[in-house]
């Protein structure tokens, strides 16, 4: 089953409608979608043999200088979760992109109850990191129950 090829591609003006279908029930306003599209390689759809099933949105964290790449959104359709390595492919994409942008680490804030996703991040080399929270001072905290995970790429 894992043989199904997962490919990634950028958003275009014509397929923005897919975004909210993937993130449903959360709906994002069109201004957010436009920003994602304009960010180019920072936002990607994941395709399960040509059908879009996942999305990742990345952000550069800046503290005077750019310091890290944040995975600000990662979402895969329920039926396609976990089993087909869609998440891994998306995370790997972020890990590959960071050095190209001269960023030394990749971070993510995850809902602490989402153990499955946390496990995947652990598998991919991310670690819980409570201490650094202050360093990323402009990481807008995504609520009380999120945990911060980081992976250093140096």
């Amino acid at each position: 089953m894992s043989t199904v090829p997962i490919t990634l591609d950028s958003l275009t003006v014509n397929n923005l409608g897919v975004f909210n279908k993937i993130t449903s029930p959360t709906e994002y306003p069109s201004s957010y979608l436009d920003k994602c599209r304009e960010s180019g390689e920072l936002c990607q759809y994941a395709y399960f043999s040509e059908v879009p099933v996942g999305v990742i949105v990345l952000d550069t964290i800046i503290n005077k200088t750019p310091i890290a790449l944040e995975i600000s959104l990662i979402k895969v359709l329920k039926s396609y979760k976990l089993e087909f390595n869609v998440e891994k492919k998306l995370i790997q994409y972020a890990l590959d992109l960071a050095p190209k942008r001269h960023l030394s680490s990749c971070i993510v804030q995850i809902n602490s109850k989402d153990t499955q996703l946390i496990n995947i991040f652990r598998e991919m080399g991310f670690a819980d990191d409570d201490i650094k929270k202050d360093i990323y001072c402009n990481v807008s905290s995504k609520g009380e129950d999120t945990i911060l995970m980081t992976k250093s790429l140096t």
């Binding site: 089953m1 397929n15 897919v18 043999s49 059908v51």
Partner: protein, 773 residues
């Protein structure tokens, strides 16, 4: 006189060089001196037709003639004067012919070309144009002579032999066709050059067709075989065409073994042509032998592993009781699902004609559904099941399955499109259009789903939404919206749906008007409803609907017109068979099913307006309530009309169809529909009007409009036959509906009280005729 002739020659030269203004001055000078100079009148008509700065050309799309009507009438008068002063003058007749050709009046052009030629036989160029006009008019008998005469005048071109040969062909005189072909072949035998390669190839295979049509089958066969083995440079290159003709010939000659070998060659060239498989069965004489067919197809499927047909065909002839059917179907479907083919259902839809096969299909697919793990394949399986239940009219289950598949993969456009389709079948048109729009939003660059959305909006009578969506893909240079562009690009489906929607809106508004009118009598408190706006709606929707229906016929007129140049050009290119195909296509043009549908709709609409004439005329009379409307009403009305213009304007000459209403409805001038009736009822006997429900309904309504109630009974009989024939088919369902409508209307006529004794006796005759049905 000599001076006049010199001046005229000068004027002619100026005309040819497009110095219209100068030419016109010269002509006026001549006419001042010699008011009987017939050539000058004819030339003046021709010049004015091209040059009339005071009244600019009409720019409306799909117009065959852009010259304004006032100019045309001036020109016609000039021609008449010219004929009066020089009835047999070759030059003026030639000029007149050129003028009529410009305004596409080929009968008159033929008439004048004939006069011009008979008074000046040395001008052979006339024959060429005359031949084109004769071909356009399908006057084949005279065509032979003109083509032959031109050939004798210009024997140096193969095109002229070809055109003469075709002239004989069109008169079913194949012997003479072959003679002409032989002549030219002998002449050019050793003189062919590289440029002649394709023309020669086409002529060679055309000759094979001639032998075939002459029923000289042995000769055909020898001829084709020689062409097939030819090593020469100038041979026939259309091997497929040759082989197909060879197969046909062999089948007639009952040489089945050779036929079988030929069809296998064709299969090798194109294994995707399903007809070849049937032909193969026929040549093997195994049409009714299931097991042999299975063996053959089994072998073929191994031979052409990527082709679907040999795998699918067994399902069509295997019996549902046969265990083989089940296993074959299961393998076939499994393969398709595994490959993730979205259109599995369409592949096997034809099997649903056999009701015994339906439960077997369902069971197999359900068994797949239970064990499938891959979410995408599961989505397609549920999508299939949804199609299944939709097909057998269990719409709730269909919706249930499509919702399940959307739940699994909410990002697939096809799923939403099909959901919309089920809703449409349930007659939830507005909801369907909304879902279709959801599908569209998932991929804005997909024109197919864009068009579907437009269609669904039109079905739901949401015209503005439809036009907004359609305009995303059109060129909107002259107008803010794309309706005009869709007319220019001859988008028939859009205009069809659009006019149907306008018709529904018209009827709805007229209904509304009637309600308000009746309330008006009861009490005088009618402040809520803006009656003048409703009147405006009745008028505009009707005008636009009529205009759109005629636009579609206008497009067909363009299709018919388009062939004109090919009566000359096809022979220069040597594409004889394509030319014959084109002639055939044009002959059947007005019998296409879409024409039938539009014909039926248009005639029904007009006959509806005649039956509700009293009410409609009241609705169209604006003076009735003009004083009653408030300032706000007036404002609303203007706003509504402006909006209508933005969205719907196509013709500058009659933006909202008011002129059409004046002509057809108020003044009862029906020449426009008489013309249509003539086009559809081609009287040359070559093609017969198809007897489908729509053509019959159109005919019925046309007769009804003209008060020919007894003739209309014939249509009722025909439609009754169709409705009785096969109760399950879609056509018989429509027939039944139409039959009831027809009967209701004819009864209404019988029951109406008339004072006129003529009509009374007509009523009796119709009543009697109806009883005999």
């Amino acid at each position: 006189m000599a001076e006049v002739e010199l001046q005229f020659r000068d004027a002619l030269q100026n005309y040819e060089n497009k110095n219209y203004k100068k030419s016109l001055t010269l002509i006026d000078k001549i006419l001042k001196k010699n008011s009987l100079h017939s050539q000058s009148y004819a030339l003046k008509a021709l010049i004015i037709h091209f040059y009339h700065p005071q009244s600019p050309d009409l720019k409306d799309p799909n117009l065959l003639i852009s010259t304004p009507p006032n100019i045309l009438s001036i020109c016609n008068d000039l021609i008449k004067t010219s004929v009066k002063y020089g009835p047999s003058n070759s030059i003026s007749a030639h000029l007149a012919a050129l003028y009529y050709r410009q305004i596409k009046n080929y009968e008159m052009a033929t008439h004048f070309y004939t006069i011009a030629y008979s008074n000046n036989p040395s001008n052979k160029g006339i024959l060429r144009d005359l031949s084109s006009c004769l071909s356009q008019l399908r006057t084949y008998k005279s065509l032979i002579k003109t083509r032959f005469d031109y050939l004798q005048a210009e024997p140096g071109y193969r095109a002229n032999y070809s055109s003469t040969s075709i002239a004989y062909y069109l008169n079913n005189d194949f012997n003479n066709s072959i003679k002409i072909e032989n002549q030219i072949e002998n002449i050019i035998k050793d003189k062919l050059i590289d440029e002649d390669l394709t023309e020669n190839s086409e002529c060679l295979i055309y000759k094979a067709l001639l032998f075939f049509n002459l029923e000289k089958y042995d000769e055909t066969l020898d001829y084709i075989n020689n062409l097939l083995i030819s090593n020469e440079k100038f041979k026939c290159y259309d091997i497929t065409g040759l082989l197909e003709l060879k197969f046909k010939t062999l089948m007639i000659l009952e040489k089945f073994h050779d036929a079988q070998l030929t069809i296998r060659l064709l299969l090798k060239r194109n294994p995707l042509n399903v007809q070849y498989y049937y032909d193969l069965f026929n040549s093997l004489k195994i049409e009714n032998n299931t097991s042999s067919k299975l063996i053959v197809l089994n072998k073929l499927s191994k031979f052409y592993p990527k082709v679907d047909i040999p795998k699918f065909l067994p399902l069509t002839f295997l019996n549902h009781n046969d265990e083989q059917f089940k296993s074959h179907l299961s393998n076939y479907l499994q393969d398709l699902f595994k490959r993730g083919v979205p259109s599995v259902f369409n592949n096997i839809k034809s099997l649903y004609n056999d009701s015994n096969k339906i439960p077997i299909i369902l069971n197999i697919v359900k068994s797949f559904e239970e064990i499938e793990k891959n979410p995408l394949i599961l989505t397609w399986i549920k999508y299939f099941l949804s199609h299944h239940f939709d097909k057998i009219n269990q719409f709730d289950l269909a919706i249930d399955y499509i919702n399940q598949s959307i739940e699994i993969t909410p990002t697939l456009i096809e799923l939403y499109m099909f959901k919309a389709r089920i809703l449409k079948h349930q007659n939830h048109l507005i909801e369907a259009s909304k879902i279709m729009n959801d599908a569209r939003l998932l991929d804005l660059q997909d024109r197919f789903v864009n068009s579907k959305t437009v269609k669904y909006y039109l079905r739901a009578d949401l015209i503005n939404e439809a036009i907004d969506v359609a305009s995303l893909f059109t060129k909107n240079d002259d107008e803010p919206k794309g309706v005009k562009d869709l007319h220019i690009v001859q988008c028939r489906w859009f205009i069809t749906e659009y006019s149907k929607s306008l018709t529904r809106l018209f009827k709805k508004s007229l209904n509304e008007f009637e309600v308000v009118l009746n309330n008006d009598h009861d009490d005088d408190s009618n402040e809520d409803s803006n009656i003048t706006l409703i009147q405006k709606k009745v008028e505009t929707y009707l005008g636009l609907a009529l205009q759109r229906y005629f636009s579609i016929f206008q497009i067909y007129a363009e299709y018919y017109e388009d062939q004109f140049d090919f009566h000359f050009y096809a022979f220069r290119k040597g594409t004889l068979r394509s030319y014959l195909q084109m002639i055939d296509w044009e002959d059947n043009l007005y019998h296409e099913s879409l024409v039938g549908e539009i014909y039926s709709d248009l005639m029904s609409l007009i006959s509806f307006t005649k039956e509700n004439n009293k009410l409609l005329l009241k609705a169209l009379d604006h003076s009735l309530y003009l004083n009653k409307r408030s300032k706000k009403d007036k404002k609303d009305e203007i706003k509504w009309k402006d909006n209508m213009l933005i969205y719907n304007k196509v013709l500058d000459s009659d933006p909202l169809g008011n002129e059409l209403i004046n002509k057809l409805i108020k003044n009862n001038e029906l020449d426009k529909i008489d013309e249509l009736e003539k086009l559809i009822n081609r009287c040359d006997g070559k093609t017969i009007k198809p007897e489908t429900v729509y053509f019959i309904n159109g005919q019925f309504n046309y007769d009804f409009i003209n008060g020919k109630y007894v003739v209309a009974l014939a249509s009722i009989r025909k439609i009754k036959e169709i409705s009785n024939s096969n109760s399950n088919s879609n056509e018989s369902k429509i027939a039944l509906k139409l039959l009831n409508e027809m009967l209701e209307r004819i009864n209404k006529f019988i029951e109406t009280e008339f004072d006129d004794p003529k009509t009374k006796s007509l009523q009796k005759v119709v009543k009697l005729g109806l009883m005999r049905l």
